[in-house]
């Protein structure tokens, strides 16, 4: 694995991820309790599903694969929730640096990511903006 780059060296087109993780019941319960849900819903096949907002931080876990973690401010988020994630499945996050710009003297990075489960179901497509020049 190549050494991590500094986040400020990120360039448009850089790949981020893949980040693979198991959507455990513990993780699902954490996301559910944040929004006051006591029980998991089940899908048509009877599998328990997690609140899809459990994936809202996937982009950060993906960029941390390539770049060293540092303080940054999350300024924008866009999510297209496609399928609820099934508890117990592995999820894989991939993506890229979609944009980098300077606004009023501050540097911003934009990440686009897609989260799939191991069966190939798309779970969420996301676009997140970070202010990296604090």
């Amino acid at each position: 694995m190549s050494p991590k780059k500094a986040l400020e060296d990120a360039q448009v087109g850089d790949s981020i991820g893949p980040h693979r993780y198991r959507l455990t019941e513990e993780l699902a319960r954490f996301a559910a309790s944040n929004v006051g849900l006591d029980e998991f819903e089940v899908d048509a096949s009877g599998s328990p599903i997690a609140p899809s907002c459990v994936t809202d931080n996937d982009y950060a876990l993906a960029w941390m694969k390539q770049y060293t973690a540092r303080e940054a401010v999350h300024t924008k988020a866009e999510h297209h929730y496609l399928n609820p994630p099934i508890i117990g499945k592995d999820l894989v996050v991939t993506g890229s640096v979609a944009d980098r710009y300077n606004k009023r003297g501050k540097d911003f990075l934009v990440f686009e990511t897609v989260t799939h489960d191991v069966d190939g179901r798309e779970i969420v497509r996301s676009r997140n903006t970070l202010l990296i020049d604090l």
Partner: protein
């Protein structure tokens, strides 16, 4: 409560209010890091009240991934599967949320803009604190038949 998206008219409003305590912010940040396998001893504006106050903040700052799901949940409760299978949410974090803040989350149905497909229901959404300051502003949409 699940609402039929196709029956909704512009101006229809969804609202929810919640107070987020300092302990909820601290425990969210600690637990999130634990579950994601990241170091939990990091001191920053999210995890340490002293650090937050040194930046002139009123208290620890709730991360966006803690507060944005309140909008997700407002729309899930209203639209059920329409939201969880096809919902879109785009937000800008406009102000910091500190432990102890009372947050009112709203979503209001609006007319589609000229360039927007008519097979979706569009909402303006925002969250404001007890001072009336908007902390999140954004747009959402759900598929309709």
């Amino acid at each position: 409560m699940s609402i039929s998206a196709s029956d909704l008219k512009p101006g229809f409003s969804l609202v929810d209010t919640k107070t987020i305590s300092t302990e909820e912010v601290l425990s969210f940040c600690r637990r999130e890091r634990e579950l994601e396998g990241r170091p939990i001893d990091l001191k920053n504006i999210h995890t340490d009240e002293e650090v937050a106050r040194s930046y002139g903040l009123r208290g620890v700052v709730a991360p966006g991934v803690q507060t944005m799901p309140y909008i997700w949940d407002l729309l899930r409760e209203a639209f059920g599967e329409r939201w969880t299978r096809g919902g879109k949410l785009a937000v800008t974090f406009t102000n910091m949320v500190c432990g102890g803040d009372t947050l009112t989350t709203q979503a209001v149905v609006r007319e589609p803009a000229e360039n927007e497909p008519t097979n979706r229901l569009y909402l303006d959404t925002w969250m404001e604190n007890q001072r009336g300051e908007k902390v999140i502003v954004g747009k959402a949409s759900v598929p309709i038949d």
